[in-house]
């Protein structure tokens, strides 16, 4: 375990002291760069009522490069593929070291409220979202019920 950068210590302390509503991010017990994340599905979205598990990893050169984030819970969303990879600009070319774990997770929650089928990662899902939004939303609700709700 290399020494932990102060930036990570600071963010971890703040996440635990002032949690973001609807989001929980807990550092792994044995790896301070790995966070267990749970995001609640936003109200008035097809993901409402679901609890979505993600993993977040801070790479060696964080914050100069973006955290690596992935959905672990299956989700029917045009910008998230079947392996849980997320298509979000701030995780790629629009990353800035002034962004933080909390801002990243809030952006992901916002992506659930506002899917963007014009910038797809899951092509079949995006296609359906464009040609038949009602059916896509039904699928998303069904997947939420099936994979993101405990009972």
């Amino acid at each position: 375990m290399a020494a932990l950068p102060r930036r990570i210590i600071k963010e971890t302390q703040r996440l635990l002291q002032e949690p973001v509503p609807g989001i929980s991010a807990v550092p792994d017990e044995s790896n301070a760069r790995y966070f267990h994340v749970i995001v609640t599905g936003p109200e008035d979205s097809p993901f409402e009522g679901g609890l979505f598990k993600l993993e977040l990893f801070l790479p060696e050169d964080y914050p100069m490069s973006a955290p690596k984030v992935r959905f672990i819970t299956k989700i029917y969303h045009p910008n998230i593929d079947r392996l849980g990879r997320i298509c979000l600009d701030i995780l790629k070319d629009k990353w800035s070291p002034a962004l933080q774990i909390r801002t990243v997770l809030l952006s992901i929650q916002a992506l659930l409220s506002a899917p963007n089928p014009d910038d797809p990662l899951a092509n079949d899902v995006a296609e359906l979202w464009k040609v038949n939004e009602a059916e896509a939303i039904r699928n998303a609700k069904e997947w939420t019920r099936r994979y993101a709700m405990d009972n």
Binding site: N31, K53, I72, A98
Partner: protein, 532 residues
């Protein structure tokens, strides 16, 4: 190089070795590929699930090929691709799990790794599928006892449980660790169970404990037993039997790091390291590698390719150390400078960049810059001694297995001429023991040489291998100054950017920026902000 297909492709195409190496791999693949019709490996058209015999065959084929794969950039073998497609639907996933449990033999050093590889690259199963699998195994104290007649199957079930526990850490993991699953795993810890089954039961418990409610449940259960079953296994750490030795190592690690029992002293407080002047460096290791309290043994139970360097450095002269191979799977052991990076999640380790060179006696390959060169020695076995000799004056690295030398390697000296450390990378479930000279060597070289233990210096805190929870707690209590840089929180904020006027950064962070981190406008001038 660790085996991993999730990483992005590399641009680099230089080869440091003759191209003919690939012929061996091609012929090896052909020799274990009994089917060749395109239909058999058809992609993206998997409808329903093929019969269990077909899946059994695909699993065995993947197992046969996996040890011959040396390059992350090459496509995964067709059998593996097809298994991924089959596992894409729930029924198929269940069949793949069933086949792996039934057909993977315990004797293959890569057997347990193949299970983790296949499950790791498959889409996550639904909760229903996982519960279905759990009920299919019919886990209970009774089934643990009855299962003793078929140790390989029980071993595989435990590997699968560990994988599922790790992938589904959280609420779903709670659903699988029922009383009967716990009964099954705890019953397996009895000392008269096959040690392979004990080992992977212990690892499965460790993976379940990644979810804190499970951890509390497991600790309660261990405490309710007449005597803690893991404590009994800890004594095996000094056993001569190599599987039992692994059980002992994992039991000790679990008691220090996860299942902390009252009345047991942490190993770092009881171990005597006074004779050691060189160890594995606990501040220079990738996150998941387990290091023994005496700092000279390491083990990986994660699915990444974990690496470590030693504490002492070699700058000139001739240096030697030995490694006892405890598990015969994929490890890359050799020499690395500090320029060598540990990219554990991408599958890159020692021998996978220009600043390190390693031998992997499972696949029988010398590794340099992520390229491999086959060697003509038998595959290494538990108990084999790997000798690692570094001759800086003559720019040669020699490896030997049980005293048999491999032709010397010179590759790394083009990039590095000093600053070498003993270093190693481990695939999942691999373990070895280092001797930097504190114990007599089994196959000492005939030339004059130095050892890290003769010349190394360890200050008291480096001598301690702290349990992670203690170490991380110490780190997290460090305080952060108010006037520090808002990017690194490490140095003092001292500069402002012109023209946007955003400030609160230090010079070393700004030096790494192309645009303002707040507003993304171009940086024309950086001005000192401390005089105000």
């Amino acid at each position: 190089m660790g085996i991993c297909w999730c990483k992005e492709k590399h641009e680099e195409n230089e080869s440091y070795f003759p191209q003919s190496n690939n012929d061996n791999i091609d012929s090896a693949i052909q020799s274990v590929t009994p089917f060749s019709s395109a239909e058999y490996y058809l992609e993206n058209t998997e409808k329903g699930c093929p019969d269990s015999l077909t899946v059994d065959k695909l699993v065995l084929e993947t197992l046969g090929i996996i040890g011959t794969l040396v390059d992350n950039e090459q496509e995964p073998p067709p059998s593996m691709l097809r298994l991924h497609n089959i596992a894409d639907n729930e029924e198929g996933w269940i069949q793949v799990v069933k086949s792996m449990v039934n057909v993977i033999p315990m004797t293959d050093p890569l057997g347990s790794s193949v299970i983790t590889l296949l499950l790791d690259d498959s889409p996550l199963p639904s909760r229903e599928s996982v519960l279905h699998v759990a009920s299919m195994f019919n886990l209970s104290a009774q089934s643990a006892l009855v299962g003793r007649i078929n140790a390989p199957k029980q071993r595989n079930i435990c590997v699968v449980l560990g994988c599922i526990a790790e992938k589904l850490a959280g609420p779903s993991s709670l659903g699988i660790l029922t009383d009967s699953t716990l009964d099954y795993l705890i019953t397996n810890l009895n000392t008269d169970t096959d040690p392979n089954v004990i080992l992977f039961s212990l690892i499965a418990l460790e993976k379940f404990a990644q979810t804190s409610e499970n951890k509390a449940t497991i600790i309660r259960r261990l405490q309710s037993e007449p005597s803690c079953p893991i404590s009994k296994l800890e004594a095996w750490v000094r056993d001569d039997h190599f599987i039992k030795k692994q059980v002992g190592f994992c039991a000790q690690w679990a008691l220090d790091n996860l299942f902390v029992m009252p009345n047991r002293k942490f190993s770092y407080l009881t171990v005597d390291n006074s004779h050691l002047n060189a160890m594995l460096n606990t501040s220079d290791v990738s996150e998941y590698l387990k290091i023994s309290p005496d700092g000279v043994e390491a083990r990986c139970d994660a699915y990444s390719f974990e690496s470590v360097r030693c504490t002492a450095q070699a700058d000139s002269g001739v240096w030697y150390y030995e490694v006892t191979i405890i598990t015969p799977g994929v490890m890359q052991i050799g020499w690395a400078t500090k320029d060598s990076n540990f990219l554990n999640h991408e599958g890159y380790g020692i021998g996978d960049d220009k600043y390190s060179l390693a031998y992997d006696g499972c696949r029988k390959l010398i590794w340099y810059n992520a390229k491999s060169e086959p060697q003509h020695l038998p595959r290494w076995q538990a108990g084999d001694i790997l000798g690692c000799l570094l001759d800086i004056e003559n720019q040669l690295i020699w490896f030997s297995v049980n005293g048999h030398l491999i032709p010397p390697c010179t590759h790394v000296f083009g990039m590095a001429k000093s600053g070498f450390f003993a270093a190693a990378s481990f695939m999942s479930f691999q373990q070895c023991h280092f001797n930097f000279g504190a114990e007599p060597f089994k196959h000492p070289p005939r030339t004059t040489y130095s050892t890290f233990n003769d010349t190394g210096v360890l200050d008291p805190e480096c001598r301690q291998v702290l349990p992670r929870h203690i170490y991380l707690n110490q780190l997290r209590q460090q305080s952060v100054r108010e006037d520090s840089c808002t990017l690194c929180y490490d140095k003092k904020a001292s500069v402002r950017l012109i023209p946007c006027e955003h400030g609160g950064f230090c010079t070393s962070c700004v030096g790494q920026l192309n645009e303002c981190p707040m507003c993304r406008s171009a940086i024309h001038v950086v001005v000192d902000d401390t005089s105000q």
